[in-house]
């Protein structure tokens, strides 16, 4: 994992001191709310329905045990004993007091964490493949590049008052576990014809009111021109992105209006200029950062077999939650934060501490957070899987449902969020309860629930998406089908008129019945939908 040097530490400490001063000026009345709001937002502090909410950055979803224990401490000391892991690999606390926020940030800084730029019209936390450094299918590790981006984007002098928020995701595999094509910039590490490392660069994806799958604007960006090219994209956006209408201010609208080719031309022209200015990190810096992500001391000659000991629950967990690792004798363990009756993505302080302990004992001290609101222990010896399973079961985290119907993604919705029009969590829980008995039979089924058009619950990218809206003062839910946030990215389509909360659960059950009836061998729900189209589903739901 990356560790701060004196520069990183001094910068984060200075930021805490700056925010402490800003909060003091706000509380004394020297700073009015209009001018304070963007400052607190850039430190991750929102005012939500019940209290302030703090969003803490988990850079590219990586945590050490020590950091996860600090997140548990924050939950206990400053909140109400729990936190919510988000769809962008961050964690949110729901009950924060403004006057305590500077102390909270100082505690985070003590474990090399911060909440900078987790909100506001700036470059947000960089997200990446949660299997980075462990995946069997990885071309190159995205984490060093994500860290380089984290540093480049932090307190950027030119890009701190953008037209709108800006999100970047990276993957080092052809399989996309980071939803890169739904980001403002999506980056895929690839090898060029001569074996050199570079990026495929996608720009202008996003969800929200106007969803787009990002088009490719550069097929191979040499790694050495990485930062100057990012700078060029951001400068074109900062100068020419729309600022007259908040709903048209994301870069996706600029890319769409100009067309991908014209946008790419503008970026290339700016890049020709910027790459001469010494913006790109020297090789020594890339190597310095990459060294932090060297392999942990994996053992060699380990037995690769896993025995389930005839325990069906353990066998089901092994089959569902455990993925191959690129080193023989190791596995990637997915920890479900979607237990029956649980709130998607929520974890108590005790659960966080239990996972931190397991990571320390069995996963080289590493934990990852996924955009699907689950956790990952990336490097577990096959021989330790039983112990990990039992440790997770002891705190209610041994559900075996990764990628299944009850592994629902949900934003906080109207239970917490001031932007929401309808509740997400109760609907997600009801859908999960309804489908859980048949979820093994249904196979991979990604259900995603948002409580408003901003789409934090990624409903556009759900095989089944649910969007909560306000219809004449009551909650109403639209059903969408056919989205994907993976390498086969697509945008889900609205099936028809909306439903009540109970009605949308029934409708979801009906569309899964159509799938079971119509599917061909080996087809997922998404494959069947793509083959037969929306009509049979419409008939089943509205007929």
């Amino acid at each position: 994992m990356y560790r701060y040097d004196a520069i990183d530490r001094a910068l984060v400490d200075a930021r805490v001191a700056e925010f402490r001063d800003q909060v003091a000026r706000r509380l004394s009345g020297a700073l009015d709310e209009d001018h304070f709001k963007p400052l607190r937002l850039k430190n991750g502090l929102y005012l939500q329905l019940h209290a302030y909410m703090l969003r803490v950055a988990i850079p590219y979803g990586t945590l050490s045990s020590r950091q996860l224990r600090m997140l548990a401490h924050v939950a206990r000391r400053y909140d109400r004993g729990y936190g919510h892991f988000t769809t962008r690999q961050n964690i949110q606390y729901n009950w924060i007091r403004l006057e305590e926020a500077p102390d909270l940030l100082a505690d985070l800084a003590s474990v090399e964490m911060h909440a900078m730029q987790t909100s506001g019209n700036c470059i947000r936390n960089i997200s990446a493949d949660q299997y980075a450094g462990a995946a069997a299918d990885e071309v190159a590790d995205p984490r060093p590049w994500a860290e380089l981006l984290r540093q480049w984007s932090t307190l950027h002098p030119e890009f701190s008052y953008l037209p709108r928020k800006f999100k970047i995701a990276l993957t080092g595999s052809a399989a996309d576990r980071a939803a890169i094509r739904f980001h403002d910039i999506g980056l895929q590490l690839v090898r060029g014809p001569d074996g050199a490392l570079g990026f495929r660069v996608f720009v202008g994806g996003g969800m929200g009111r106007t969803p787009f799958v990002a088009p490719l604007i550069r097929d191979f960006l040499p790694a050495g021109a990485f930062l100057s090219y990012m700078e060029a994209i951001l400068r074109v956006y900062n100068r020419f992105g729309r600022r007259d209408n908040i709903y048209k201010a994301r870069i996706k609208i600029l890319v769409h209006d100009l067309g991908a080719e014209e946008f790419a031309r503008a970026v290339e022209a700016e890049h020709a200029h910027l790459r001469t200015l010494g913006i790109d990190a020297p090789e020594a810096e890339v190597e310095r950062i990459a060294a932090f992500f060297a392999d942990p001391p994996f053992e060699t000659g380990l037995a690769d077999a896993v025995e389930d000991g005839g325990d069906p629950a353990f066998a089901a967990w092994l089959a569902r939650q455990v993925e191959p690792h690129r080193v023989p004798g190791y596995r990637i363990v997915n920890v479900s934060l979607k237990p029956a009756g649980g709130i998607p993505g929520d974890a108590s302080a005790e659960q966080m501490e239990a996972v931190a302990d397991l990571a320390e004992r069995f996963s080289f001290d590493e934990v990852r957070v996924t955009h699907a609101q689950n956790l990952v222990l990336p490097h577990v010896r096959a021989a330790d899987l039983r112990a990990v399973y039992e440790g997770l079961a002891a705190v209610g985290l041994a559900a075996a449902n990764l990628g299944l119907a009850s592994d629902v993604i949900a934003c906080p919705g109207l239970d917490y969020c001031t932007l929401a029009n309808a509740r997400s969590i109760p609907v997600a829980m009801a859908v999960a309860d309804r489908l859980r008995p048949r979820e093994a039979e249904l196979g991979e089924l990604k259900i995603k629930v948002s409580g408003c058009i901003n789409a934090c619950g990624h409903h556009h990218a759900g095989h089944i998406g649910i969007l909560g809206v306000d219809r004449k003062g009551t909650e109403n839910y639209q059903l969408l089908l056919g989205g994907s946030g993976a390498e086969d990215a697509s945008i889900a389509q609205i099936l028809g008129p909306g439903f009540t909360a109970d009605g949308v659960v029934d409708a979801v059950a009906k569309v899964t019945e159509v799938y079971l009836r119509e599917r061909r061998s080996g087809e997922r729900f998404l494959d069947t939908f793509r083959r037969i189209g929306a009509q049979p589903f419409k008939e089943a739901v509205y007929g």
Binding site: Y52, W95, L414
Partner: protein
Amino acid sequence: MRLLTGNVSRTGEVVWWAGDRWSPDVADAVGLEPAEGEALLAREAVAEKVNDLALVEAEPGPDGRPRPRHIRERIRAFGPTVRPDLGRPGRDWR
């Protein structure tokens, strides 16, 4: 009838205008006529002690006290529906 509500700047806590003070308990809230509400809102906005000030529609609740009409404001008043353990004891958002 309307209620004046917002969140305390210092803490973020939800509060309701209770006639002569802010109260965290919606049961203390007083129903306001439109002109009275607008005047209060303007006055409190200048004071800058409470953020996100809003006048919200209310109706008499089962106990005869005013309660917010919209589910959003009832959730603000009573807590997240999915964590009744964190809400106001004995109150129901429904």
